[in-house]
C-alpha cells in the first residue's frame, strides 16, 4: 500500500435542485464539511463549482485521498462523476484547501464570490496544467447546460 503523495482530479454534475439561491445553503454545508474533513486527514486541494457542476482537486497521502474520494462518491448531491486524473505526484500544487465559484452567472457571482476570498482560492494555481485546464473548461460548460 502506497502512502506517497497522490492527486485526484474529478468533475461531476451538480444535482442540487433549484436555482443559485437554493444551492447556496448546500454549498455552505459542503464548505464546512470539506474544511473539517480535509484538516483532519491532511487532504488539500481546491473545489470549483457552479449551478451546473463540481470539479475538485484532492491532494494527500494515497489512502487519505482514496477515503475522501469514497465519501464524495457516496454523496447524492452530484452525479456523472468523471475522474480526470489519479496518480502519484512529487509535490502539492495546493498547499491548503480552498473553494471558489467559477462561471458566468452574475447572480451566482454575487452569491458565491465571497467564498474564494474567504478560503484563499488562487485561480492561478489552476493554470499551466492540462488537466486543471480541462477541469475548468468542463465546469464552465456544465453551468450553461444546467440552465
Amino acid at each position: 500500500m502506497t502512502s506517497d503523495l497522490h492527486r485526484l482530479v474529478y468533475c461531476s454534475r451538480n444535482r442540487i435542485p433549484g436555482a443559485a439561491t437554493e444551492i447556496a445553503a448546500e454549498i455552505d454545508v459542503i464548505l464546512a464539511a470539506s474544511q473539517r474533513n480535509n484538516l483532519r486527514f491532511g487532504v488539500t486541494g481546491a473545489l470549483i463549482f457552479n449551478t451546473g457542476a463540481f470539479a475538485q482537486v484532492l491532494e494527500g497521502a494515497c489512502p487519505d485521498v482514496e477515503s475522501t474520494f469514497e465519501r464524495i462518491q457516496c454523496d447524492q448531491r452530484h452525479r456523472d462523476v468523471q475522474v480526470l486524473a489519479f496518480e502519484g505526484v512529487p509535490s502539492r500544487v495546493f498547499p491548503s484547501w480552498s473553494m471558489a465559484y467559477v462561471g458566468r452567472s452574475r447572480e451566482a457571482q454575487d452569491l458565491f464570490g465571497h467564498i474564494s476570498k474567504a478560503t484563499g482560492f488562487e485561480a492561478k494555481r489552476l493554470e499551466g496544467d492540462r488537466i486543471f485546464g480541462i477541469m475548468h473548461t468542463i465546469a464552465v460548460e456544465e453551468e450553461a447546460g444546467a440552465g
Partner: protein, 558 residues
Amino acid sequence: MDIAVPFGENSEAGDVARPHLDETATVALTALNNLKWAVAVIGPDRRVLFSNPRFGALFAGETVAVALAECIGLASDGDGTAARKMTLCDGRTLSIETVRLPQGLLVTAEDVSERVAESGRAAEQACTDPLTLLSNRSMFCERVTELVANLEPTTDAAAVLSVGLDQFKAINGSLGRPVGDALLRVVADRLRSALRQGDIAARFTGSEFGIMQTGQPQPQSAAALAERLTDLLSRSYTLDGHLLNIDASVGIALIPDDGNSCDQVMRNADLALDRAKQERPGSYRFFETVMNEQMQVRRDLELGLRTALALRELALVYQPQLNLVSNEITGFEALLRWHDPKQGLIFPAKFIPLEEETGLVVPIGEWVIRTACREAAGWPPSLSVAVNVSAIQFNSLKLFSVIQSALEESGLDPSRLELEITESVLLGDQRSALEVLQKVREIGVRVSMDDFGTGFSSLSYLRSFPFDRIKIDQSFVRVRPDDPNSGVIVRAIAALGRSLGMATIAEGVETEAQLARATANGCTDVQGYLISKPLPPEQIGGFLQAQTEILAAAPATA
C-alpha cells in the same frame, strides 16, 4: 478436600455404617466433591442436606436463595424431574436439572455461559459472509421465506433485488484476489449506505448481492433503490492507487406478485438481472415486463417534466370564482397545465405527484407564483388570484421570500393574492409551515383551505390558523340523488365558515341544480364549469367583458 456435608439428626448417615458401604460412600463422596458439576441435595424443609464445593462456588452469594427457590418451584410439580437453563442477574447462564430423591431434591447445575456465547457466535458466523459482514445466502433465504409466510397480501408488499457486478472477474484476474476482495468490501459499504431501516442485504456468491426491501410502497421503492444502486455502485473506485470501474446491474422481483417462495422469488430476480445485463449493463429491470413499461413511462414523464419549465411547456390557466351575493367574479384560481410536444396536454393529476416526489415542485411552484402574480397585476384591481401551494414547498425556507419578491416584481397588492393549501401542509412539522403562513398573512396575503372535508381532521386545522376561506370539496357539491347528507354537510360547513368569519366556496359546480343548492346551503362563492372552464390568460379580458354584459342585462334584484 472440603467436605461440606451437613449431617443432621435426621440424616441416614447412620445407615451406611457397614464397612464396604462406608468405603463406597467415601469414594462416592470424593467423586461428588470433585465433579465439575455443581451437585446438591435439598431437603423438604429447604435445607441443603449435601452440596459439593462446586455448588458452593457456583451459587455463592445472593444468587443462591433466588436460584434455589426457582429450582424448588420448578420441581414441585410432577415427579420433580426438570431441566432448564436459567440466566442469573449477573449475566451467567446456568443449566440446571433436578431429580426427586427420597431424601429430597437432587440438583445438578453447570455454568454454560461460555458455551451459549460460543454457539451464538457460531450461529452468527453461519449467517454472515466473512468478507463483507453482510448476511449470507442461506440467512437471506430464511428471512425471505419468513416474510413470504407472514405477508398480508392486500396491504404488504416487498421486493427482492438481485445485484450483479460486471467486469468483476476481470479485476480479480488482472489485479489479484486481495484487490478484488477489497473492492467487494467497498461495494458492500456503498450498498449498505443506500439501504433504509428494515432492508436486509446479503452477499450471495462471487460478485452477486441481494437485498430484501420491506415496508415501503411498491414498485416505486424498489425502482428508486435500484436506480440509486446502479448509479452509486457504478461510480469509480480508488483502491490502493488503482482507479477501478465496474457496472452494477439490478433485477427486481416483487413479493407476492413474482413468487410465493424464496426459491421462486430469487430465481425471478436473477432472471430480471440477466435481462438487465443483456439489454443494458448498469441498468435495472423488473421481472414483470409490464412493470418495466410502467417505469419507463414514469421515467420519461420525469425527464420531460424537468425540461418542461425550461422549454416553456408549462402554462397557467385561470378558473373564475363567482360571489353569490354580488353575482360578480371576484377572482381566478391559477391551474397548471403541461403541453408536452409528444404527448399533448397532460393534466396535473398525472404529474403533480411526480413533481412532489422529485422535488421539482419547488422550482415549478416558484414559477407558478411569479407568473400568477404578474398576470393578475394586469387585471382590474377588484380581482384576486389564488395559487395552490404544496406541503413540500413549505419545507423550502425560501417560500416566503419567493412570495414577497413575486409581489414586488409584479406590483400586485398582497391582498389580491390567495394561497390555497391542503391539510397536508399542516400535518407533520406544523410549526415551520405555520410560521410561514403567519408571515404571509402579516403582509396581507390571504390563505384558504382547499379540499375541505376530505382529510382526517379538517376541523382541528381550522383552529390552528385564521383562514380567510374554506373551499368545499367537489365531492360534497356534486350530490348524487341517493345521498341527501352532502347537502347537510355543505350547510354545516357554510355555517361554520360564517361563525368563524371565513368565506366558503363550493368547488366543482357544473349544473344549475348544484349552483342552486350551494346558494341555498349558505356558500358565499362558487367555482366550476358552470361558471366557466379554466381560461388561458388571453381569454380573461373577453370573459370579464361578457360577464359585465350579463350583469347589466340581468333584472335588478331586490
